[in-house]
Symmetry: C2
Subunit: 430 residues, 2 copies
């Protein structure tokens, strides 16, 4: 028989304990920051009916990137490519029962059929944090404050990242009133803005000309005015009459008062997904080696209503695991993470019964204890413990059984102690 | 446009915060017990190549229950229906680098196309705990001790459950030597044994007769002898010559010394999966309302070798989330679980800036704080906080801002306190 391949499916990743520790570290920061703001955890299924995404997620995601198939009962389902439609479905299903604003978060995996590349895998993990039923600018500010807090909890300094802010209502106003584009040209222009950092300025201008058609000259001049605006005040007067401008100013005021300094307004920020209706934002890595969007979010007030209930307003953000890990590596912010096992018990001679008893008592005392069960020699056991990176090694042989005094080694400090059970547990817990 | 359905996909479940708390409680016990025995966490992809399961998981699982489809690149993949093949693949891929015995665990979701029923959903969560590279009876004992510890950590008493133990080598010996069945009849008989508790004794005997064919009379008499055996000593002498008997005795000796009292030997215990090669066991609920197998495991030494590397022996166990939850409900063992949010801040009048500052300081002090951002009236805010089941409510208005003394209410105790910031954090942390 031909051997099976031991490789994971393309674009997915195996998390061995040393990788899982990093992922767990990232998850733990996500969890603690989300909960510190009063968000509660939920979970949703990994498979959903395909129509959930067809409604609003955007054509590219549904037609090209979704893992979709027909189940044995003839239902068309998708492996979830994102969380937003699922949580909106859940909120709609309990529209009447939930207390508002509902603050909800989840940490889950998703699949998208994409060409795997750095920071982009077919299976990826995301935190999703959303507030439902609060249409205030303060709710938008809270989601951005929470995002900022995540960055800071990971040890990032304000100069390490930039939070770019824009508003879809302003974008719509700019496209229709200022650039005088119709609906389909507006969409093309939005997609071009989205690619702005990925193409040359000449290419950008050429493609913009095509969208403007016979109004290219006036159009390009306006685009250049937009791109040269460094702050909101630099925007052309016509745009400043948009009602969205007031919202953006309010948002900046709250965030600045809250001490957030990494902010910038960026009228070219679009965010890919079709469902945003107001504020959009993106956290951008300032490091030259990783100059890219880390994650983002925004307001999407139209989704819950698609399920046939009274609409519920919503603001959310969704950082990804791999992107976060790349950020931490680039900025040298990953702490040294240890094994979850505290101590490895090396046995000398036939003491299996006593060793089992000792290990059991140590476990009951809250110490994660790996016990040698084999008849391997001393040095082989030691090698196993060292290879696993376990911080303490305890030795038990006939002498230790008789005296109740154990030899324990702190690997990092290269120190040995002779201790009784009480001292032992104290030593390891420190 | 027709509204979207707000129902989850058939056989899957939405976990709202109150459900997720229960799940997180179960996961936390699984995690702490696994880690206390020195097992380290890993993660594997949700999609795997289908051939991973075709090899050994058993025909029913692959042909009838797996969610399988062809991806956009023509690869046949499956949403994982179980973890064992994935972790064996991972061990094979790092056959040389890993330290043995490797002790590994994961908590993950799986999908099987089944008729949804109590304790059986299409999407389900499982703990998988496995030890690789230790072929001793002691390793088997450790997996059973860990399973027993999980039950006890959940608050189960020894009389609440039974751990049934058998050995596939003994089963094979019994089928071939004692019952004198050929390979295909042995398989049929094993499946019949598996269904023993689900059918009447008459049906069982009838079906056994069919398998024996013209040797039915002698066969049925032997089967009756087997079924009446209450302990190993009651088994017919012919079976007691099997080499597996010694292994089983050794296993019982270790477990009894370790103080495990819920043990029983059951020669009719088969376990469904095809890949077991030695010891098999099952934890069974003794409660009359939930008289069923909760979870099980066993030794499967043949799987890692399928990936074209030197074989690695393995023993594992896999408790499921829903089954565990049903057990806890049946035995009234579910603790009252609170919101992860510690305090809800009710604002009175225009104090949004000061309230934001206070909430931020509380969060920095480690208190999970939900802050009202709306202009809703006092009683509406209070109602929200109560509906969410948050244990403390703090009130901040102009007086509180001036004095620095806040009113805080402990909901469970129905008590109110007037405290400064330091007292506040102390009070909530207690």
């Amino acid at each position: 028989m031909k051997s099976l391949s031991s490789q994971p499916y393309k674009g997915t990743r195996d998390f061995y304990p040393e990788d899982k520790r990093v992922q767990n570290y990232i998850f733990s920061i996500w969890k603690s920051v989300s909960e510190s703001f009063g968000y509660e955890e939920y979970g949703a299924p990994v498979l959903e009916p395909l129509e959930l995404y067809a409604a609003k997620s955007g054509n590219e995601l549904v037609n090209e990137q979704t893992y979709t198939f027909t189940d044995r009962g003839g239902r068309t389902v998708a492996v979830r490519p994102e969380m937003t439609p699922s949580i909106c479905r859940m909120v709609a299903a309990k529209r009447q029962e939930l207390a508002y604003p509902a603050r909800l978060y989840s940490i889950a995996n998703f699949m998208r059929y994409e060409r795997p590349q750095r920071g982009r895998e077919r299976e990826f993990w995301q935190l999703n944090v959303d507030i439902f039923g609060d249409d205030s600018v303060a709710a938008e500010a809270e989601i951005i404050m929470l995002s900022d807090k995540i960055m800071k909890k990971f040890g990032a300094k304000p100069e390490d990242y930039t939070i770019k802010i824009n508003n879809r209502k302003l974008v719509n106003f700019m496209m229709a009133q200022y650039l005088e584009l119709d609906a389909s040209s507006s969409q093309l222009m939005a997609k071009l803005f989205d690619r702005r950092n990925k193409i040359s300025e000449d290419d950008f201008i050429d493609q913009a000309k095509e969208i403007f058609g016979d109004k290219a000259e006036a159009g390009i001049s306006k685009i250049k005015t937009l791109l040269s605006a460094k702050t909101m005040a630099d925007l052309p007067g016509e745009i400043l009459t948009s009602s969205a401008i007031h919202e953006i100013q309010q948002l900046f005021t709250i965030l600045e008062k809250a001490g957030i300094t990494s902010l910038t307004f960026d009228i070219t920020l679009m965010r890919g997904l079709d469902y945003y209706t107001g504020m959009v934002f993106e956290v951008f890595d300032n490091h030259p080696d990783n100059n890219r969007a880390l994650f983002g979010g925004g307001r999407y007030d139209g989704l819950v209503g698609l399920f046939g209930v009274e609409p519920v307003s919503a603001v959310g953000v969704a950082p990804g695991g791999t992107t976060m890990e790349n950020f931490l590596q680039t900025h040298n912010l990953l702490p040294k993470l240890q094994s979850s096992t505290d101590v490895y018990v090396v046995t000398l001679g036939d003491v299996s019964r006593e060793a089992l008893k000792l290990a059991s008592e140590m476990r009951d005392a809250g110490i994660n204890t790996e016990l040698n069960l084999s008849e391997k020699k001393f040095d082989k056991q030691l090698k196993t413990a060292l290879k696993k990176g376990i911080p303490f090694i305890l030795f038990i042989g006939e002498d230790e059984v008789k005296s109740g005094i154990y030899t324990i080694k702190n690997i990092a400090k290269s120190e040995e102690y002779k201790v009784n059970f009480t001292e032992l547990t104290k030593l390891i817990k420190e």
